[in-house]
């Protein structure tokens, strides 16, 4: 069958989210993420969903949280300064365990930066942008096809674990259109959040065995409290040290407990490689091109591509790096992911950062030149 089509990275995210059951979008236009809002505005009403253009970025994140509390699968999209503005409410969603997905199309920063230029400067911000220890999941696709599937997965992870999930795109992937032919493995299944058991007393932050409290939607007939203050299982604030400790360890512990269901990495020719590249997003496309071209020249180079950026796939990287002559970490920033790679590899293999910060994509040549130096 040839049902291939030309699909933009940004559009693929929208269709993936809709396939997973997203029926609410609130946002504020900002380059280079505005195309995502445009398409949601066109598609959501057809499915009985709601699109709201809000007065600003902060309100957009608030509306997404509100819609999710009311039982809808909700999403927003933003970039650079908008992502910074959303951080306080992302923290609220983390603390109150409200499922939601934030698509962040990275643009060059800090501040207004370069609106139409690509960057990977938000790697650390996605994890630590809001204050305090908190659970958050970050996923970075590298093709339009993967953007579809992974945005669908993001919605499902968020609903299942009650953790905010960030889809991290760069400007290149968001704006490019490419031939996509969906296969069976791209089908997005729909996973709904767990609700209360009818007829039993409802505790909104109950300490259940699976660590995930059931979530009653506003209007479902349950009366309870949601707050950004540290709360006990009734949802009301607490200052009892024992309760605080237990609640915070449960909320953050979800990431450890479900880590292997969340972490996804892709390997290309890693096993027999002399040199390992670790790269994500559009840079991983250059890196995979290098693996392909150097293989033709008889050189053994492998790529480990984290699809899930956070929780960081440290164990996978440690295992893949074992016995290699070098690990190369190309990034469009001054060296953010490389710190995590260093932590994972813990001095067992030499690590070489490759950083480009002129707004351009790291080319296959830049990576292969560094490899030639090392081999």
């Amino acid at each position: 069958m040839n049902d291939a089509k030309l699909l933009a990275g940004s559009d693929a995210c929208v269709f993936g989210a809709l396939a997973a059951g997203v029926r609410f979008f609130a946002g504020y236009p900002i380059t280079p993420s505005s195309e995502i809002a445009n398409l949601f505005a066109r598609e959501l009403p057809k499915l009985g969903g709601k699109f709201m253009q809000m007065e600003d970025e902060i309100a957009s994140m608030g509306a997404v949280i509100g819609a999710s509390c009311a039982g809808l699968k909700a999403i927003t999209a933003t970039s650079g300064p908008g992502f910074s503005l959303k951080q306080e409410n992302i923290g609220f969603a983390a603390e109150a365990e409200i499922p939601c997905v934030i698509i962040n199309v990275m643009r060059y920063g800090p501040s207004t930066g370069l609106p139409t230029t690509s960057s990977q400067g938000d790697f650390m911000q996605t994890r630590w942008g809001t204050h305090g220890d908190h659970a958050i999941i970050v996923i970075a696709p590298y093709t339009a096809r993967e953007a579809y599937r992974e945005t669908g997965r993001a919605v499902n992870l968020s609903e299942r674990y009650r953790i905010p999930v960030i889809i991290l795109l760069d400007e290149i992937l968001s704006h490019l259109r490419e031939r996509v032919e969906f296969k069976e493995e791209d089908i997005v299944t729909v996973i709904d959040r767990k609700g209360p058991v009818p007829g039993t007393p409802y505790l909104p932050y109950e300490d259940t065995d699976d660590m995930i409290p059931p979530f009653a939607g506003f209007g479902d007939g349950y009366r309870y409290h949601i707050t950004g203050l540290i709360h006990d299982k009734t949802g009301f604030p607490t200052s009892d040290p024992g309760t605080i400790d237990r609640v915070m360890r449960r909320m953050n512990g979800k990431l450890d407990y479900y880590r292997d269901k969340i972490v996804r990495v892709k390997y290309v020719d890693v096993d027999n490689a002399d040199v390992l590249i670790v790269a994500f997003g559009s840079v991983a496309r250059s890196a995979e091109e290098v693996v392909r071209s150097m293989k033709k020249a008889g050189k053994r180079v492998g790529l480990l591509r984290p699809v899930t950026l956070w929780p960081f796939p440290d164990r996978e990287i440690r295992e893949a790096a074992a016995g290699k002559r070098a690990v190369i970490v190309p990034e469009m920033n001054l060296g953010q992911m490389v710190r995590e790679v260093e932590r994972a590899v813990a001095g067992t293999v030499p690590i070489h950062p490759l950083n480009r910060i002129d707004g351009g994509l790291i080319t296959p040549h830049e990576i292969s030149d560094l490899i030639e130096e090392l081999l």
């Binding site: 291939a4 030309l6 290149i172 704006h175 490019l176 490419e178 031939r179 496309r285 392909r292 296959p364």
Partner: protein
């Protein structure tokens, strides 16, 4: 598709050149090729410099950028000479004017695209579709029939015949330019 095509289009925002790159990309998909299309632009809505590109190949396309195009079409009134050195070894450069071919370097072709749209089609706005015809006529990277099929959803139904005419005139001008060498 026998080779990897890397086509870059340079225009002024509002000329419809990004649409041309999307039509080319959709046509390549229709013919079963892998394709990546994108555009670079400044913060302006109209009037700024706009560059779009298409990469089409039978191999999967990983690196999504063009380093050295084998086809470069410049619609804007800018000096083409600085772009000559960016071309691939087998690359051609097409400029939008009626300059005498003898006055141009080997790999540069001049075609009065805007004049064809204005004088022969009678609608200056169809210049982008004339340029689509030129690209197809000169490269054969996709068939004329597929290009027309891909073009159809991008033009108003009532202007379809006009755009078909613009496309055909472009194809003719492109082929004539090749033979002029």
């Amino acid at each position: 598709m026998a080779k990897r095509w890397e086509v870059r289009l340079i225009g002024t925002g509002g000329q419809g050149m990004v649409t041309v790159s999307i039509i080319l990309a959709e046509a390549a998909v229709l013919e079963g090729s892998n394709v990546v299309q994108s555009q670079n632009y400044g913060p302006e809505v109209r009037g700024g410099h706009s560059t779009s590109y298409v990469i089409a190949s039978n191999e999967s396309i990983l690196y999504p950028k063009i380093d050295a195009p084998n086809v470069l079409l410049i619609m804007s009134k800018i000096d083409y000479r600085p772009y000559l050195s960016t071309l691939a070894k087998d690359g051609i450069l097409i400029i939008n004017n009626g300059a005498d071919p003898k006055s141009l370097p080997d790999r540069v072709y001049s075609i009065p695209i805007r004049d064809i749209a204005h004088d022969q089609v009678g609608k200056p706005i169809t210049a982008n579709i004339v340029s689509l015809g030129v690209l197809v006529g000169m490269t054969g990277m996709i068939s004329e029939a597929t290009a027309l099929e891909a073009m159809q959803p991008h033009v108003p139904a009532k202007a379809l015949e006009l755009n078909k005419k613009a496309f055909a005139l472009g194809v003719e001008a492109g082929k004539a330019a090749l033979q002029g060498r």
